[in-house]
């Protein structure tokens, strides 16, 4: 194939992401699971790299979690989303960036639905006006926060203090990338690389010095699946999905996992404890698990932020072996100290999964 032809085909898989002028909406659950990730997205992209990203304290959940859990109808989620758009209009922004994968899927699904059914959009405009006396404009562009970090990955690499490299051997770390289903499987063409070459996370890993692990169940769901987990009777399905992924990646000895969804890092991290308790098996070296990171946490680590400021002490799987491997300094005695150096108390240790 001639080079120009290759370029043209590859361009079909790319997203032309605006560099600046973003209205940021947070996730409803990420601040509980990975409390520093959203803070460090803004610290890195807005404060360090100097991009124009705005957020308002008036925004709310997108309603996607309730919609996907079958507890609210889509019209309710649409009206919530319409209010977010109204806030964006009031702030003078036209591009929306979401912290959450399900929000990204939810916003995209709603915009696509309105494109197909304009009368529904008109009804939501009326609902919003009656409820809040607000009007909205549809965003010109909807991106996920990992799209922006992907776009800025070279800027981050230029400022990086550490690379994803084993400091002893000089070899790249072996990283598993896991892309959330609501990013890559609802509207695959809206993601970087499309359905065939999803590279939003692998692009970051390679830019920061790591090596991406390809394994059979790479595109398998993490197992969250909303009602698979939320309904206790179904929870066995959730953990079985995660187990299937770990069994599949185990022979490749990954050093870490990077994810871009709120649910995936939570379940890939926490289920390692449950699987260890149920089967006695751990997937990392020497009885440890495989540490799981959000893309903001991994970006923060390569940029040299303190691991405890990044909230890594809230992970179930210990991150210290990986930090030692990269050569990142940390104070073990400060692991369970809060922001005001208040002692948060050390949690009870699992019986099988080794933790620090």
């Amino acid at each position: 194939m001639i080079y120009q032809g290759k370029q043209r085909i590859w361009s079909d898989y790319q997203k032309d992401i605006p560099a600046d002028g973003w209205f940021y909406v947070r996730s409803c659950i990420r601040q509980n699971f990975f409390p520093a990730s959203e803070k460090y997205f803004l610290a890195i992209c807005r404060d360090l790299l100097g991009h124009d990203i705005y957020e308002t304290e008036h925004h709310t959940t997108c309603g996607g979690i309730a919609y996907h859990s079958d507890t609210i109808p889509q019209e309710t989620a649409m009206t919530i989303v319409a209010r977010q758009f109204a806030l964006m209009k009031e702030a003078g922004y036209k591009n929306l960036v979401t912290s959450c994968i399900t929000s990204f899927g939810n916003y995209t699904e709603i915009l696509e639905t309105w494109r197909e059914y304009p009368e529904l959009e008109a009804r939501i405009r009326e609902n919003l006006w009656k409820a809040t006396r607000r009007e909205f404009d549809k965003p010109e562009y909807v991106a996920h926060a990992s799209d922006l970090v992907y776009k800025y990955r070279s800027e981050i690499a230029e400022r990086a203090r550490f690379r994803l490299v084993d400091k002893e051997t000089g070899l790249p770390l072996r990283i598993v990338e896991h892309i959330g289903c609501h990013y890559s499987k609802m509207f695959p063409h809206k993601g970087i690389g499309g359905a065939e070459y999803p590279c939003v996370l692998s692009g970051m890993v390679e830019s920061w010095g790591g090596e991406v692990v390809d394994y059979p169940e790479r595109r398998h769901c993490c197992g969250f699946g909303f009602r698979q987990y939320l309904v206790k009777a179904n929870r066995g399905y959730s953990v079985s999905n995660t187990h299937k992924k770990f069994e599949s990646m185990e022979p490749y000895h990954p050093d870490a996992i990077i994810t871009n969804c709120p649910g995936c890092p939570y379940f890939l991290d926490r289920w390692q404890y449950v699987i260890a308790e149920q089967t006695g098996k751990t997937y990392g070296r020497d009885g440890f698990g495989i540490p799981v990171f959000t893309y903001e946490e991994l970006a923060g680590l390569v940029l040299g932020y303190d691991p405890w400021d990044l909230g890594l002490q809230l992970h179930q799987v210990a991150v210290e072996p990986l930090l030692d491997k990269i050569g990142i300094e940390y104070d073990p005695s400060a692991k369970y100290l809060g922001v005001n150096k208040e002692d948060l108390l050390k949690p009870q240790m699992p019986t099988v999964l080794k933790c620090c």
Partner: protein, 108 residues
Amino acid sequence: MIDFGFGLSRSSSVKLDEVDLGLYHKLEALEPGVRVCMSCGSCTSTCTAGPWSGMSVRKLILNLQRGKDVEKMLSCCMLCGKCTMVCPRGINTRHLILSLCRIYGKKQ
């Protein structure tokens, strides 16, 4: 061990590296046509015995490729040969069944 109130289900993953293909290779020697099956299911959809006996040539070949035993299914076939007539790859499925009977030491 902690009882969480839920547990792991048995994985449905097929590990092809660990599958015993001895039976499949024996069949391949007697009826090489089995190699060109594309699992289209024409044989199964035309099978007279299928709806009431569970006979399925497509499933039979797939099970052999996954190292599973297929002896029970063989007794469901009436050897009418309709599957041979519809196979787009021209596989002699009737001979395939008879070859399997021979491997299992069944009377033809």
